[in-house]
């Protein structure tokens, strides 16, 4: 059963990668006109700072696309370049390779996302457990419902309010960037401090919006777990409420909560992109925004490809792990 579950998940991952690469290949070709010239013309018309030899740029892209070859050969060539991680060069910073531009932003995004997701998961799960626990104080439930309402608001709107309050009105946190100006990242105390200081507000925006979603899911699970017979038995045996809550309630309600993580990965990543834009945070999302602003098509394409492929792989890995911690999943997936 595990094998058929894994092969189905693996198939879906392959399909997603195939679909993402094909769309990346097909979309610019479906538009009327020469893709390179139209992109370059748009770039020049908008006054995007194309420094360097424009003729050489057109040549290099034409050779890369091999636009004189039949379409299926172009398609195969595109797959080859994707496997070599050769995503072309940036149009605005011409010699810079797209893969380098992405690699530069990746650690920032992964750090921010990982940190914010972990914290919101921990707080939200605990809060949701308490919301479903009849003996919890009323104030917890009131607070939980208020936070749950916030979970429907897009992250970046909360980010804008935080930015205004804590960086402009009260100048507690910096208004943007990933670290203090002129500092270079490294494993020394001032650099780490600077990174944490700059990351606080963006992370907080994601956490505030995300806690409610985790809390809502956990409350639902907790309520259904507390209706089980073994909880009644534990109660009848005279176990301490704290013990019932943690070891009989939370522990069993936690597993489905973990599986929700895979489903929300895409949602969290999309939300984080816009948070980065608001805080000029030097991750993938902000690069994407800059690329859209300067119509740097190959960077847009590269980031989009990276996003869809990496989320597909991450989901597959999570899908592999879940049945090992919760055998009910393969049984249900059948």
């Amino acid at each position: 059963m595990y094998l058929s579950y894994v092969s189905r998940r693996f198939g879906i991952m392959l399909l997603v990668v195939f679909f993402a690469v094909t769309i990346n290949f097909a979309l610019p070709r479906m538009m009327p006109g020469d893709p390179i010239e139209s992109q370059l013309n748009q770039l020049l018309a908008s006054g995007g700072g194309a420094v360097g030899d424009v003729g050489a740029m057109v040549e290099s892209y034409r050779a890369r696309f091999g636009l004189d070859q039949p379409i299926w050969q172009q398609y195969l060539a595109y797959w080859q370049s994707v496997f070599r991680l050769d995503l072309g060069s940036s149009l605005t910073n011409y010699p810079e390779r797209v893969s380098d531009a992405i690699l530069g932003g990746l650690p920032w995004t992964l750090g921010l996302l990982g940190f914010a997701t972990l914290i919101s998961f921990a707080i939200g799960t605990l809060l949701g457990g308490l919301m479903g626990w009849p003996r919890a104080p009323r104030a917890v439930r009131g607070f939980g419902s208020a936070v749950a309402l916030l979970s429907s608001v897009p992250y970046f709107l909360i980010g804008m309010i935080l930015l205004y309050l804590f960086a402009i009105v009260f100048r507690i946190f910096p208004a943007g960037g990933g670290m203090p100006f002129g500092m270079s990242p490294g494993l020394n105390w001032p650099a780490i401090q600077g990174i944490l200081w700059h990351g606080t507000l963006p992370a907080l925006a994601i956490i505030i919006a995300e806690v409610g979603a985790w809390a809502l899911g956990m409350r639902g699970m907790m309520v259904s777990v507390l209706g089980e017979d073994y909880i009644t038995l534990a109660d009848a045996k005279g176990l301490k409420p704290k013990r019932i809550f943690l070891w009989y309630g939370m522990r069993n309600a936690l597993l489905p909560q973990l599986t929700k993580l895979a489903l929300s990965l895409g949602h969290i990543a999309s939300g984080a992109i816009l948070v980065e834009v608001i805080f000029s945070y030097p991750g993938i999302g902000f690069r994407l925004y800059q690329a859209i602003q300067s119509k740097d098509y190959f960077v847009i394409q590269g980031i989009v490809l990276l996003l869809s492929v990496s989320i597909a792989i991450a989901m597959f890995i999570l899908d592999l792990i879940y049945p090992l911690i919760d055998p009910r999943i393969t049984a249900k997936g059948k």
Binding site: F19, S151, P154, S270
Partner: protein, 283 residues
């Protein structure tokens, strides 16, 4: 009359649905009536003195290009709702049709539809949207709705498919089938009316996810540049650094409006969910 009272009593007990519908109704009313009461010329560039904080003459101040923000806000509301509703309707119709087909026909077609919706759910919507939107020459409100709709049909498909599978085995459907009802008649007379609560619930979720995608795209600068929507207002305020300049009246009201729309949709969805599930449990 009795039926009306019964519905009113149910609504009174379901606080979440009541507040959700109340918020949404208020917003729709403002969006419908508001544009009749304001002077549209005030929303044009250079109509008034730029960068004015709220005052008696301009209740919500003016932006960096001299637009009256109250007028902009009121004119942007119907446009934003239009994208959300249009995208929601398109993807709902596609979702219901696909869900019914998958549930009724089964077999290979069911497998293909399920696989397609699983794959689409894995791909981060915003990634594909960014790609499509950056390839389009000129974005309009209508085009925006179509693009967003193409990526939000999956929830409806899954819900309707699951319900169709359970409905078609029910006794009354079997009896109708034995009485000689076939294909389309069976679907439209026996099954579809019983799916209505689920269709309504899916609609709210679909509109909500479509609006989330729309506002995200607009904030990235890929929205309709020449039209007034709430998301584009946020984008321009961000573009001209309104936060750093302390012009809270520029981005604050659109944030409140957008948040109210989402909170209203969420409350409605949560309220409908308890209603729909109770019904599914007892029938």
């Amino acid at each position: 009359m009795d039926r009306f009272l019964f519905a009113a009593a149910g609504l009174y007990r379901n606080k979440s649905l009541l507040f959700g519908l109340l918020i949404l109704t208020t917003i729709v009313l403002v969006a419908l009536i508001g544009p009749l009461l304001v002077d549209g010329t005030l929303s044009r560039v250079g109509a008034t003195v730029p960068r004015q904080p709220p005052s008696g003459a301009h209740w919500l101040g003016t932006d960096a290009q001299g637009r009256d923000m109250l007028t902009v806000l009121i004119l942007a509301m119907p446009q934003t709702l239009k994208i959300g509703l249009a995208a929601g309707l398109i993807s709902l119709s596609a979702g219901v049709a696909l869900g019914l087909i998958a549930g009724f026909v089964g077999g290979f077609i069911d497998t293909v539809i399920r696989l397609a919706s699983d794959v689409m759910m894995t791909i981060p919507g915003i990634a594909i949207l960014v790609l499509v939107a950056s390839n389009v020459r000129e974005m309009t409100v209508e085009l925006m709705a179509v693009i967003v709709a193409s990526l939000s049909w999956m929830v409806a498909t899954r819900t309707i498919r699951a319900q169709t599978l359970s409905l078609r085995e029910r006794g009354y459907v079997q009896i109708a089938r034995l009485n000689g009802s076939t294909g389309l008649k069976l679907i439209f007379v026996e099954v579809l009316p019983n799916l209505l609560p689920f269709i309504a619930a899916s609609f709210v979720i679909t509109v909500s996810s479509a609006m989330l995608a729309t506002i995200g795209l607009e904030a990235l600068g890929l929205g309709p540049q020449n039209e007034l929507t709430l998301g584009m207002t946020i984008y321009w305020s961000q573009f001209y650094g309104a936060i750093i300049r302390g012009m809270w009246w520029w981005w604050g009201p659109p944030i409140v409006a957008i948040s109210l729309i989402f909170i209203g949709l969420m409350l409605t969805s949560a309220g409908m969910d308890s209603f729909v599930n109770k019904r599914a449990g007892t029938s």
